[in-house]
């Protein structure tokens, strides 16, 4: 495996990558569908340049995979690795939220 494939840090694409993974966890989607879906559930717009930068990175890391093209559009779906990585990340975030909430409650009482 080439070194840069493992070089995992997504930098400024970390957050949009999470949004894309969440969007694909509901089922395969092509680019435009991902954009509208992300916009509807998160409220933050995802530009086409960012979207494809993220798709390329996720694909390279094996977290998503392309399906056969339909017309010119190509749907993507979450791989098992992708689903696992998303689950881990959501767990971490869940813990983070619980910790933050409990501290908030401690401070309030």
């Amino acid at each position: 495996m080439p070194d840069d494939q493992r070089t995992g840090d997504l930098g400024r694409f970390a957050e949009p990558a999470l949004l894309v993974l969440v969007s694909l966890s509901a089922g395969p989607k092509h680019g435009y569908a991902i954009m509208t879906d992300v916009e509807s559930f998160s409220g933050s717009a995802l530009g086409p340049g960012t979207l494809y930068a993220v798709l390329a990175r996720l694909e390279r890391r094996g977290l998503i995979e392309p399906l056969g093209p339909e017309d010119r559009r190509r749907p993507y779906r979450l791989t098992t690795e992708g689903a696992a990585a998303l689950a881990v990340q959501l767990d971490e975030m869940g813990r983070f939220v619980r910790t933050a909430r409990s501290r908030q409650l401690d401070a309030a009482s």
């Binding site: 080439p2 070194d3 840069d4 493992r6 070089t7 995992g8 840090d9 997504l10 970390a14 957050e15 990558a17 999470l18 993974l21 092509h30 680019g31 435009y32 954009m35 717009a45 530009g47 086409p48 340049g49 960012t50 979207l51 494809y52 930068a53 798709l55 390329a56 990175r57 996720l58 694909e59 390279r60 890391r61 977290l63 093209p69 017309d71 010119r72 559009r73 190509r74 098992t80 690795e81 696992a84 990585a85 998303l86 881990v88 990340q89 971490e92 975030m93 983070f96």
Partner: protein, 286 residues
């Protein structure tokens, strides 16, 4: 929508990227009425793809990798325990990949260059020189000058090298040029003249008065001036010597402001001179 611009931006992506994603990106951009923000995003994406194209190595390798090695039992999927906000695993600790290194060097270079540019631009708004030629000079009181050069009271110009000037004691100087003995020890401000020693012809430094005529003659082309710096017949200079503004401060010190220069009077013939010495109009020092 500026379709041409979209095509142009897509063309800015590296070819490997275009082959793989070009068609679907074009489809997305057709479906979505691309806004200016999208175009900006696209430009940024193109730059990003240039710096770090995330395209797989040739498919052959991918196909080979897809066949699981029979011997090795496939290990449990290593799930990266990523910190918040990071999806994939972190790079091996302490190592800087070539790509990251190159990117940082590029960013540092561009940053340094723009910093230089900004600093250089801002430097122009800095205050002008306040010392050296162009600033103000305190020459001391007339008594201080006389202590250095007693002949100043008799009209000999006092050379002040820091400002490249001759300080002329006008009433005494006139007497000197007329061949009389004078002694003017404290001239007032309007009796002082600060002549810039830079010849108005080509800028040579004008030497001290010549003994014979009590005139200034530039060594370069023999431009000749009377003791008050007015241009006489000889030499190519088109005007008299330039003057700095002179004043006398509250403490009696003479102050020359070398940022305030009055150009010498133009050559208008012998009748226009404010002072005539006894020598012929066309005589020059030798």
């Amino acid at each position: 929508m500026p379709l041409r611009l979209v095509q142009l931006l897509l063309a800015a992506y590296p070819s490997s990227y275009r082959e793989r994603y070009g068609a679907e990106m074009a489809a997305v951009l057709e479906e979505r009425m691309a806004s200016w923000r999208d175009l900006l995003d696209l430009a940024r994406g193109a730059l990003d793809a240039r710096l770090d194209p995330q395209i797989d190595p040739p498919r052959v390798l991918a196909a080979a990798a897809a066949i699981p090695p029979a011997s090795a039992p496939s290990p449990a999927l290593p799930v990266p325990r990523a910190p918040y906000g990071v999806v994939a695993s972190a790079p091996p600790t302490g190592e800087l990949s070539r790509r990251v290194f190159m990117r940082r060097m590029l960013a540092a270079g561009v940053g340094l260059l723009s910093l230089e540019f900004i600093a250089g631009t801002l430097a122009f708004t800095w205050p002008q020189v306040r010392s050296g030629l162009g600033g103000k000079f305190g020459l001391g009181t007339p008594a201080d000058i006389l202590a250095i050069q007693p002949s100043w009271a008799e009209g000999w110009p006092y050379p002040y090298t820091k400002a490249r000037l001759f300080l002329i004691n006008v009433p005494a100087a006139k007497e000197l040029a007329l061949g009389h003995q004078a002694s003017v020890k404290s001239p007032s401000a309007d009796q002082l003249l600060a002549l810039w020693r830079k010849c108005p012809h080509l800028g040579c430094q004008i030497p001290q008065l010549c003994e014979s005529l009590k005139r200034f003659t530039c060594n370069c082309h023999q431009s000749t001036y009377n003791i008050l710096g007015e241009k006489l017949k000889t030499g190519p200079a088109a005007r008299g010597m330039d003057r700095f503004e002179v004043s006398i401060g509250d403490d009696g010190g003479i102050v020359v402001d070398s940022s305030k220069v009055t150009a010498g009077a133009p050559n208008l013939g012998p009748d226009a001179l404010t002072f005539k010495d006894p020598f012929p109009w066309d005589a020059a020092c030798h």
